[in-house]
């Protein structure tokens, strides 16, 4: 374990419930996330993990409960406000912009930071062009970092799945987020690729101090890199704590891990 400094609570989820018709996706979930930590959410399929992220991000509106981010509490915000506050995420089912190239996809992550208006952009003179170049430089750093230089200009739809996942991460990173929500970033990868991905996550976490919320089914990964783990089952929280604690929790073993791990 490295000796990074874990800070105060940055994101605090309190008593969130979410239902879709008859389905209770989340029931009274509370947990907190501290600055700079890697916080994992695990649980069986359909437990409500992705739904949790969707609530944080403003895609779903929870029927009850509140979310506190950096001291500000809200029960619902729209996605844009959440993004403005510095929360970025990746998606379980790849939600990349298929028709755009890798660069453009990642550049969209910078959109919030672009200041020049429509007319300046149309003319593309002076400040507008400088701004574009500045952001492009930033994006190139991300591309270098994720080692996808060779695919810069490929339309993302044509990339293999694993690389698309990287681009998804890149797009989130381009927002320079304070909190990064990752939904199964390593699904469909082999060990080597997972190692790469872990490396990126750890680097981001270490070097930029970004707080990370991670959903993942690979217990090896989760147990190795997270600081604390929340376990959900059928929309309820059944465990919360350091990896080792969770690993030995009876409920968790029964509901999720099975006996072999």
């Amino acid at each position: 374990m490295t000796s990074k400094k874990i800070g105060d609570v940055i994101l605090d989820v309190k008593n969130i419930s979410l239902r879709f018709g008859g389905v209770k996706a989340l029931t009274d979930i509370s947990f907190d996330v501290r600055e700079h930590e890697i916080r994992s959410i695990i649980g069986p399929n359909g437990a409500g993990k992705s739904s949790m992220l969707n609530c944080i991000n403003g895609v779903y509106t929870p029927s009850e409960g509140s979310i506190t981010f950096r001291g500000k509490t809200f029960s619902h915000m729209n996605s844009r406000q959440v993004a403005e506050m510095g929360v970025a995420r990746t998606f379980q089912n790849l939600a990349l912009f298929k028709g755009m190239s890798v660069i453009d996809n990642i550049m969209t992550g910078r959109n919030l930071k672009i200041k020049s208006n429509l007319f300046l952009q149309a003319l593309r003179i002076g400040p507008a062009e400088k701004e574009e170049i500045r952001h492009r430089e930033f994006v190139e750093h991300i591309i270098d970092f994720l080692e996808i230089q060779a695919h810069r200009k490929t339309p993302v739809g044509q990339l293999p799945y694993g690389l698309q996942k990287r681009v998804d991460l890149g797009r989130a990173l381009a927002m320079e987020p304070q909190v990064l929500l990752l939904d199964e970033p390593m699904a469909g990868m082999n060990v080597e690729e997972k190692q790469d991905m872990c490396r990126f996550i750890l680097d981001v976490n270490d070097e930029f101090g970004t707080t990370i919320v991670l959903i993942e089914h690979d217990m090896g990964v989760v147990m190795d890199i997270s600081d604390r783990v929340v376990v959900l089952d059928y929309g309820k929280k059944i465990g919360d704590g350091a990896p080792d604690e969770v690993r030995n929790n009876e409920d968790v073993i029964r509901a999720y891990l099975g006996t072999s791990h």
Binding site: F97, K98, G99, T108, N111, L118, E129, R136, M175
Partner: protein
Amino acid sequence: MFYRENGQFKTSYRADQQIFPIAQDRIAVLVLLAAAFVLVPLLASDYLYRAILIPLVIMSMAALGVNILVGYCGQISLGSGAFMAVGAYGAFNFFVRFPGMPLIPALILGGLCATFFGILFGLPSLRVKGLYLAVATLAAQFFSDWMFLRIKWFTNNSDSGSVSVSQLQVLGMPLESALSKYLFCLALLVVIALLAKNLVRGAIGREWMAIRDMDVAAAVIGIRPMYAKLSAFAVSSFIIGVAGALWAFVHLGAWEPAAFSVEVSLRLLFMVIIGGLGSIMGSFFGAAFIVVLPILLNQLLPPLFSLFGLEISTAGLSHAEFMIFGALIVWFLIVEPHGLAKLWSTGKQKMRVWPFPH
């Protein structure tokens, strides 16, 4: 072999962000422009200008506008004819109601009217999507058809509802000869295409495409769907409106609402899909296909038939034209569902690896 980017290293992002990063492309485009501005005027006949080139240039501009909305922002619209009509009648009203109003400002004001109209009819797009939106935009089409027939004020109280303009001037020069009209439209097209290209490769263009490809994800990274969609409607209908005004002022001279009927809307949509959604170049290809092909068929078929000793009646000719036109559309879509622009880039790709097949 000749078409390679090898050895062309970009030393700055500015260089890499050029519209045509590959030198051969730049040269090709320059040659094309030179041909359009210099060579064509040396060779073209009056007929070519008036019946093919001018409509082609204007329709390219309209298709470009449609492509921004449909191709880049993914909002299928069947109301483009209406935006053209609003542009045309808007410009007409400014032109006749303000004595001495020069042509270019009138065109721009017409475009702005279309912008306004476009935003208005774009509002439903915030809730309604896809084909539902496409059909709903027909409301704009039929409403504008009706409005310009029924509300006399728009047609300057003309009895029949048909209006006309004449004695056009640009910066003091008369816009009478076919050549001058052609050059004027072409110049406008080049300027607008350049601006449009800048938009689509800039931040706003990326917002449009993001909304098109995956709107929920776009929202999560902070793109406001409302702003993106409405700005696409605005920019697109501005361009379509200017094109409509040109169509009316420069090409037709006198017009009635039927000149901007639903048929026109369909044809415009055709152009961008056949040409290639999300490609500026594609708009030009598409316009060329739809504008030139029927005329070409119309003129080529009789000699072709007589080659086989057959004579074809006018009716037979135009039916054959319909059939061939329809069949060609289907054929092109099968060969390349992403349009002529894609075919073009595949061709380039092949040239790049030439002489090897892959």
